[in-house]
């Protein structure tokens, strides 16, 4: 009897999955309906080419929102793009969107920015949707209680042609974060702490739902940061149940339900949160109070430690693979075991990306930067996630704070998160970066990345090394 009761209780993931099943027949992968398809210039051209070659059309153009973000320059935008291959990719995107009647925020459009920053700004994703994009950080939109995940280019083509995707049902993992974050610890620190705890493959095969009082406390921006990095823990997607914050955020935005449909949409959204007592395949628990501001020390997002910690020694790992990974990472990062994190000097600071390029991120960074000067020999760049974030920050006078402190204030784009647009580290340079990956070469060949929150990055810019911002 009890088992039956449990079986009827569903997680949010199961509810969204069930409501989007178009075909579920034996001998074939279940076919899932896709409500929203997000696009950028890097992972789409070959999909459009495939569509053209097979004589197929985009089934539902209004489900697509496209932007240019990966390759775009973050300064001197009015000049032609110097890199001819990047220029061609940008032009191809514009041509593909024009030909297929798709909504594109191109480089000069006032709505332009990083796809995962732009999409929420316009209320394009709602709770309960299935959302895809040829980009692993699509997980960001799980912050709204939407099932959002990254796909490959073949799948981009598949969704354009059919509005569906053959999918395998994931397992569910609940990550419970209760308690109160310490001063200056943020959603980014929760995300890094989770990856540190479960590892970059810890979430493989799972969709994570983040629950607990610390998650409820997060703003929508914070929830986006958290879900954004679900992929860094290997998960297919991250989810946060919608609540009043979600509804308030969406209300009135361009693509949010109009007044005519609002109540109906709201009533539906309120049915989405996981049923009380619904079973998850795995549960991980963290206490927010234990989460110090995090700093990654290695070349994988699981290689993190609190700012009050030290670079680990390879021998401290009992697992042979982890020991070897630590040794390789320390060699690449040019770090010695047992060095205090606060003794690591940096050359460059980057604030931006789909992880930490929203207004809240620049507010907290500006609070840290105010009245300081970027340390000698350090370059600090602030790259808003969108033109709207940039405008908002300028309206609040944040740009002045950064510029007065010696920072560069740029135009929006992915920029140094993956260094495709010319913003990059040179060999051996070390960064404090608010982005999401510290893989070898991610920010430039031989570049050394330390992942941190915006507050930590801004404090490091002024000091020239990491500082424990809790002591400021």
């Amino acid at each position: 009897m009890q088992a039956l009761e449990y079986a009827m209780k569903k997680t949010m993931y199961e509810k969204i999955w069930d409501s989007h099943l178009v075909v579920d027949e034996t001998g074939q992968a279940p076919l899932l309906y896709v409500d929203r398809h997000l696009m950028h210039e890097v992972t789409s051209p070959q999909a459009f080419e495939g569509l053209r070659l097979s004589g197929r059309k985009v089934r539902n153009p209004h489900s697509i929102l496209a932007t240019m973000d990966h390759c775009v320059p973050t300064k001197n935008r009015d000049l032609p793009i110097a890199d001819p291959i990047a220029k061609k990719q940008i032009e191809t995107m514009a041509e593909n969107c024009r030909e297929n009647g798709l909504n594109l925020y191109d480089m000069k459009n006032p709505n332009n920015g990083v796809i995962h920053v732009v999409v929420p700004e316009h209320g394009f994703v709602h709770p309960g949707m299935v959302v895809v994009c040829g980009d692993s950080h699509t997980a960001t939109h799980g912050a709204f209680g939407a099932l959002a995940f990254g796909i490959g280019t073949s799948e981009v083509e598949h969704v354009m042609a059919t509005q569906t995707l053959p999918q395998k049902k994931s397992k569910t993992m609940q990550v419970v974060v209760n308690g109160k974050l310490s001063k200056y610890a943020s959603a980014k620190d929760i995300a890094l702490a989770i990856t540190g705890k479960i590892g970059t493959a810890g979430g493989t095969g799972y969709v994570i739902e983040y629950t607990g009082s610390a998650i409820r406390e997060l703003s929508m921006e914070g929830r986006m940061t958290l879900c954004n990095m679900a992929i860094e823990a290997g998960a297919r997607a991250g989810l946060v149940a919608p609540d009043e914050k979600t509804y308030d955020y969406l209300k009135g935005r361009e693509f949010a339900p109009s007044a005519q449909h609002w109540d109906q949409a709201l009533a539906y959204w309120k049915t989405l949160p996981s049923d009380k007592g619904a079973l998850f395949d795995a549960t991980v628990t963290l206490d927010a109070a234990d989460i110090a501001p995090q700093v990654s020390w290695g070349t994988s997002p699981e290689q993190v430690v609190g700012v009050d910690g030290c670079v680990p020694a390879p021998e401290s790992f009992t697992d042979e693979i982890k020991r070897q990974a630590c040794e390789n990472a320390l060699a690449y990062m040019g770090l010695t075991p047992n060095t205090k994190i606060t003794d690591i000097a940096i050359d460059l600071v980057f604030i931006g990306s789909c992880t930490n390029g929203r207004i809240e991120d620049f507010r907290i960074a500006a609070e840290m930067a105010k009245g300081t000067q970027v340390a000698q020999g350090v370059t600090a760049i602030a790259v808003p996630g969108s033109y709207h974030v940039k405008q908002q920050a300028e309206d609040e006078g944040l740009d002045k704070i950064f510029i007065d402190a010696g920072w560069e204030w740029r135009d929006p784009g992915c920029s140094m998160c993956l260094a495709m647009n010319g913003d990059e580290l040179t060999k051996g340079q070390r960064s404090a970066s608010t982005s999401n990956r510290n893989f070898e070469g991610r920010q430039g060949k031989g570049g050394r990345t330390h992942l941190v929150s915006p507050a930590m990055a801004a404090a490091a810019a002024a000091a020239g090394h990491f500082v424990d911002i809790r002591n400021l």
């Binding site: 080419e49 197929r56 509005q163 493989t204």
Partner: protein, 203 residues
């Protein structure tokens, strides 16, 4: 997509875990608008020295692994980005089979869309295969997808599991989209109901 056939080939060894997509195909090569031509950039930052010459230390540059179609690699292969350029580069370089204990989700999906068979084995099996290659570089394995079998001269053969849908698509080289479009009536019907249930999505 080329149908996947039973073959005997050199198995190359990459004894590293968490090989990420930024290593498989570094971001500076993602600007092409074509699907082809990525193989020359596979593992670029590990494979080449700063002056563009081959890095003799890098495992895939070993003469014994030249022409390998099978790649035997450590845990969590292909983590990171969704870029399909990663399997495009792997296939374009000449690999059609990867053997590891685990793969990142998106990468795993992307492999099968590009004719690459990604085989999962347990740690013990992987260690045996790695040891066999390390002891006899250039050793050739036989991969038989039809019968879900890998055989090796050292007697470390094994059978593997694979989703039947993925298997039949690989064997036939069939186009996924064509298969899905057989259900176009169901998609249309779903959309009609969807418009009634969630009108705000279509307003």
């Amino acid at each position: 997509m080329e149908p996947y056939k039973k073959h005997e080939s050199i198995a190359a060894l990459m004894n590293r875990s968490n090989v990420d997509t930024d290593q498989i195909i570094p971001k500076q090569f993602l600007k092409r608008v074509e699907r082809s031509g990525f193989g020359v950039h596979l593992f670029h930052d590990w494979r080449f020295n700063d002056d563009g010459s081959d890095n003799a230390e890098f495992e895939l540059n070993k003469p014994a692994f030249k022409g390998a179609k099978i790649l035997v690699a450590g845990d969590n292969f292909g983590c990171g980005s969704s870029r399909e350029h990663a399997p495009w580069a792997i296939a374009d370089y000449g690999f059609n089979t990867i053997i590891s204990t685990s793969y990142a989700d998106i990468f795993y999906n992307n492999c099968f869309k590009n004719g690459i068979l990604a085989i999962k084995v347990d740690k013990e099996q992987l260690d045996k295969l790695m040891a066999e290659i390390a002891a006899n570089e250039g050793v050739r394995f036989v991969v038989d997808l039809e019968n879900q079998q890998v055989t090796t001269p050292g007697g470390n053969g094994f059978s593997f599991e694979i989703d039947p849908f993925r298997k039949s698509n690989l064997l036939s080289g069939l186009d996924d989209i064509g298969l899905t479009l057989k259900h176009v009536d169901k998609i249309t019907k779903y959309e009609q109901q969807h418009k009634k249930d969630y009108p705000w999505l279509w307003a």
